[in-house]
């Protein structure tokens, strides 16, 4: 779960990191009023998209009138598809240098890493490797000040800023652990005449840990359909084809999509019903898939934890409660496979043991070649 900039900043401020004076607004009038209080300001669209600056989501205003005009134009516009509903209006900083500092999980090192660069303000992916410092963090001890100081020195920061940088990095790590973050980032961490200020901030929280992060706000970053399926505990991404796909496991779902493409089909979605999917949520997920009006449906189940008979019953249940005339192809192998196949065939549904045959069949059906 990504938090909006203003939320991330609020949290970092509570952890003792300095942020610019500012306020979130959702009307041009408020923007003007904040600007009249703060002087020259920056208006930042609160959207979850990256590269917001290039898309016009970050603009300056020197007067309340200008702030109002800018806000008017920004509110209701879209940035990379995201509607701008809120603007963070902040006092414009006098920035001498922009640093990057982030804490993120490195899956290959199996550890959190501190990332830092003297070239902040841009997408960190664009910073050349040689200018990005990485330091692995031992979760048993956390990020210690000496390590952060060493990084600050290597960034070439002026000596008097080294303790402040170390302090910020350690506090960021504190927030990273406390909020089950995947990522905490200040980009840029601005060097100003008054010291270091988090001019922009991100905090992405591990979805799997939300159950114990009750104090955090909830932010949704998906289409209504995606949300609906996610609420069923499944993993869903919308695509633009016409063959609805449902499979069990991220790997086999991706492979199914790859195979369909290879066979000339156009998948309508990525839907992983997961290893432990029970009949009821699967039935609901199928119902959701059908809402998008695909031309055919492929269910590809290689049973592990998932039992094939559950899958078969789910298919029958959906058809029973909400009859559909769309062609359905089921591929079924694994635990309780015989029982699953029997149930489907008895109900007259096309079922295969081979993925190749099933994929070929559904592509044919979607083309109306029946």
């Amino acid at each position: 779960m990504k938090l909006y900039e203003f939320m991330a900043k609020e949290i970092l401020e509570r952890h003792g990191i300095r942020i610019p004076p500012g306020q979130v607004v959702d009307t041009p009038e408020e923007a003007a009023s904040v600007a009249s209080r703060l002087g020259p300001v920056v208006l930042k669209a609160q959207v979850l998209a990256g590269g917001r600056g290039k898309a016009g989501g970050v603009v300056f205003a020197t007067s309340p009138a200008e702030a109002r005009r800018r806000a008017e134009r920004m509110l209701g516009s879209r940035i990379q598809g995201y509607p701008v509903e809120r603007i963070l209006v902040e006092k414009r900083l006098d920035i001498e240098q922009e640093l990057y500092v982030g804490i993120v999980v490195d899956g290959s090192a199996r550890r959190p890493v501190l990332l830092a660069s003297a070239r902040g303000g841009v997408d960190v992916e664009e910073v050349p490797d040689a200018e990005l410092i990485r330091r692995k963090i031992d979760v048993r001890w956390g990020l210690m000040p000496y390590r952060a100081r060493e990084v600050a020195l290597r960034l070439g920061l002026p000596r008097q800023l080294v303790p402040a940088f170390a302090d910020i990095a350690c506090r960021m790590y504190g927030a990273f652990r406390q909020y089950d973050a995947e990522l905490v980032e200040c980009n840029p961490l601005a060097v100003t005449p008054d010291g270091l200020v988090a001019a922009d901030a991100r905090l992405n929280v591990d979805d799997e840990a939300l159950f114990r992060q009750k104090q955090l706000p909830r932010v949704h970053d998906d289409t209504p359909l995606e949300r609906k399926v996610k609420e069923l505990g499944l993993s869903y991404v919308q695509l633009d084809g016409d063959i609805a796909v449902m499979a069990n496991g991220a790997g086999i779902t991706m492979a199914t999509i790859d195979v369909l493409q290879k066979f000339g089909g156009r998948p309508a979605n990525f839907l992983d019903v997961g290893g432990g999917a029970a009949a009821e949520p699967m039935a609901k997920a199928m119902a959701v898939l059908l809402e998008a009006r695909p031309r055919a449906l492929l269910i590809n189940i290689f049973g592990g934890i998932t039992r094939c008979d559950d899958v078969a019953r789910a298919v029958l249940e959906v058809r029973g409660s909400r009859p559909f005339d769309l062609p359905v192809v089921v591929r079924l192998v694994g635990t309780n496979e015989d029982e699953g196949m029997r149930l489907l065939r008895e109900a007259g549904i096309e079922a295969y043991r081979s993925m190749e045959e099933a994929a070929a069949a559904v592509v044919r059906l979607a083309r109306g070649e029946a």
């Binding site: 290959s108 995947e182 992405n204 499979a247 496991g249 991706m254 790859d258 290893g275 592990g304 190749e356």
Partner: protein, 289 residues
């Protein structure tokens, strides 16, 4: 021979009284795994499929000599369960549980390293040395013994590949799921190392997917390997960005894409299959080369 597990395993199942735990307890028993104990706090004294249940792993180790654990405990409590197993001296813990918080996985991996233990997963289908021992949730009947070592990120996709291997008469030494999560205990590189040393394994199959850099690191390591490697990767047409997001991209820095992985593996001499069912032919070719 095989890697990680064989007939010497005495398994304790943590979370044995749950729906999945008890179902797969029976499956593992049927496969021939010596399931010597179950653990379920508050349920000590019960039995599941004839297996005695204890309140603590310590008891299971002391009373039944358990030396490996399979964890089905729900995600919020899984870290505690793995720590308990490791603290009780168990050196192989297979964590089936999915949806374990990322920071818990970090802790699990660090604690396992500290104890010199191996954690497979989390979010793994498990480990199987066909004909000898199975710890996990994979279907029993698709495996057969043989010279192919398989390491996979995704469960069902590995079943797909393994089933096609078995159908082609190509048995497996050991099949291991590294787990689908961002942070897992055992990785491709450690498995390649073990397969290289295992005399029974003659060819290695990697079943990978987009995201992360595990395949690229494996490719780097494969350059020093004497045994042939075949790979299949899922995700050529996966929607970009959605899966890993920004946090992953920062670390990956250009790696992690389908193209990057295929390039890395091919340049390390790996035969990469285009479709899952093409794997057996490539393995056959490697075996007879």
């Amino acid at each position: 021979m095989a890697i990680l597990i064989d007939e010497k395993v005495k398994l304790v199942i943590q979370g044995i009284t749950g729906r999945q735990g008890s179902f797969h307890c029976r499956q593992m028993l049927e496969y021939g795994t010596r399931v010597v104990a179950g653990v379920s706090p508050g349920k000590g004294g019960h039995e599941v499929c004839g297996v005695p249940v204890y309140d603590t792993v310590e008891e299971a180790v002391a009373t039944r000599g358990a030396n490996a654990s399979c964890v089905f405990v729900p995600a919020p409590f899984a870290k505690d369960a793995v720590f308990e197993a490791l603290d009780a001296g168990i050196k192989l813990v297979v964590v089936i549980t999915e949806h374990i918080p990322l920071h818990d996985a970090l802790d699990i991996v660090a604690f396992a390293q500290e104890r010199g233990a191996t954690v497979v997963g989390p979010n793994t289908f498990g480990v199987i040395s066909p004909g000898r021992c199975k710890i996990g949730i994979m279907p029993n009947r698709i495996y057969c013994p043989g010279p192919v070592g398989v390491a996979a990120r995704s469960g069902t996709l590995s079943y797909e590949v393994v089933a096609s291997l078995s159908l082609a008469g190509l048995g497996q030494s050991t099949v291991v799921g590294v787990g689908g999560d961002r942070v897992t205990g055992l990785g491709f590189v450690q498995l390649l190392k073990q397969f290289e040393r295992d005399e029974h394994t003659r060819v290695i199959v990697l079943v990978g997917e987009i995201g992360g850099t595990a395949e690229e690191e494996a490719a780097e390591y494969i350059k020093s390997l004497s045994k042939p490697v075949v790979a299949y990767l899922a995700g050529r047409n996966a929607p970009p960005g959605k899966r890993m997001g920004h946090a992953g991209a920062i670390i990956e820095r250009g790696k992690g894409s389908f193209a990057s992985k295929v390039r890395a593996l091919r340049s390390a001499g790996v035969a990469v299959a285009e479709l899952p069912w093409e794997v057996p032919a490539l393995v056959q070719r490697a075996l007879t080369a």
